[in-house]
Symmetry: C2
Subunit: 307 residues, 2 copies
Amino acid sequence: MISKLIDKIERLQAPVVVGLDPMLSYVPEYLQKQAYEIHGETLKGAAEAVWQFNKAIIDAVYDLIPAVKPQIAMYEQFGIEGLRVFQQTVDYCKEKGLLVIGDVKRGDIGSTSEAYAIGHLGRVQVGSQSYAGFDEDFATVNPYFGVDGIAPFLKVCKEWDKGIFILVKTSNPSSGEFQDQLVDGTPLYELVGKKVAEWGETCMDGAYSNVGCVIGATYPEMGKALRKQMPKTYILVPGYGAQGGTAEDLVHYFNPDGLGAIINSSRGIIAAYKQEAYQSYGEKHFADASRKAVLDMLADIRKALGK
Amino acid sequence: MISKLIDKIERLQAPVVVGLDPMLSYVPEYLQKQAYEIHGETLKGAAEAVWQFNKAIIDAVYDLIPAVKPQIAMYEQFGIEGLRVFQQTVDYCKEKGLLVIGDVKRGDIGSTSEAYAIGHLGRVQVGSQSYAGFDEDFATVNPYFGVDGIAPFLKVCKEWDKGIFILVKTSNPSSGEFQDQLVDGTPLYELVGKKVAEWGETCMDGAYSNVGCVIGATYPEMGKALRKQMPKTYILVPGYGAQGGTAEDLVHYFNPDGLGAIINSSRGIIAAYKQEAYQSYGEKHFADASRKAVLDMLADIRKALGK
């Protein structure tokens, strides 16, 4: 699966993923009103507003980018109705030719991780039939349980040609609280990184592994060091834009082959129309503002990479 | 919320929670067939079979125990249809007077953890209305992100009188891979435990905190040490029975007041009819086998606690 992502990144010259993390406050008033007129101010109404918002943005940007990364929490907050729109969003993005990174950050003991892996990346057996629950192409995974929690994902990745990105160093301010703790002089996130590289060796797909990792754009020195330690591991990089990471910070997340990293922006793209720079689009043209924000992000990153 | 759980535990003399973690292979053939006859061998059919299985077990044991712990992964593997049955199970357990610990192990950067906290324990605003997405009483939370990932849960716990159990030392064989790493001579899980106790101080509800922790029954020495270090923290203990933990192992997870721990059993209860000890019930009476398994577990734990 990582080779499919790389093909798309190279063809579009776009090592970029758009995070579909819709807060209701990002959805223009008029879209919310339309949805509430049909479904009332209900969970279904909220979910419908989010769906119309997502669909317009996907339609506006799908030809520019290789992949999207819907954050399932933003859908889960609306219960079943929200999760239905998560699924609808995954399906629609795949129809449009986008790869889908399910930002689910699941992870548990072995038998439970297996259920998550099957639900998000594999197929579940029902009598003589089998079905995909959510069917993303990639999922993000939490490493706290050690290999037991990861192995079922590796199995499913091999069986169905899928990929995962395991959390190594997250983008949030307090990520160091546990991740930076020194173990014999080595920070924990580096130990996790070493394991990720090791696990990844068993899941190679061309020059890179189907087992990637997550390293926040907000810790560029750590990203630089980790990049060298895990050369075959694709890095999913959140934290660009709204969280403070700049394109210059991100250059060292890439390998000399110009590959090895994919940069996520969520709020900066999907709520672009709320920013001063794109205010002139107005809320009616929020999706055009998102398209312009993607083009600007691409230009920014290409420039930093000297392309 | 923890005081409600303690009241129930004391009234029933039952520091026990039943894990509703249904694998399709646990559901008796005849129940699966009934569901497939109506809905076909589909995700809906599988979900219906799980629901009928859950309902029968809940009806058979609800008067003996204070709480249940549905593991959301087992539902998520069936996609939306499975998650609908997760919700139905939560709602039904609450109707029966049970407290519900959503075993969701969520956790992310701040804004995302907020969405999870709202979705599972709080209420989401939709226009002038607010709604609960899943509305469990407690949720399990992953600490890898540090305080940013926890704070939104604390906020929601205070606002809606709910509780969380944060992973400290998990029950699986490889939990030590990262959790046992020594930081200046102290294992990481102990550092996490210290933070959990600290966070818990801000969420007290009587003698105990609404912020509990998870410590596996499979590591009794660590449980004993942690018990002393975090006296006001309720410990949710998975790993009894099928995973290998015994009642004697668990005595030291309790405080001198006889409180402070709640022991989970999943497979050992819900798939009891498949064990040699309860085989005589037959698959038609699987729920009666589960009731007997709960009674046996209660006797085992009461005996170990000298009650």
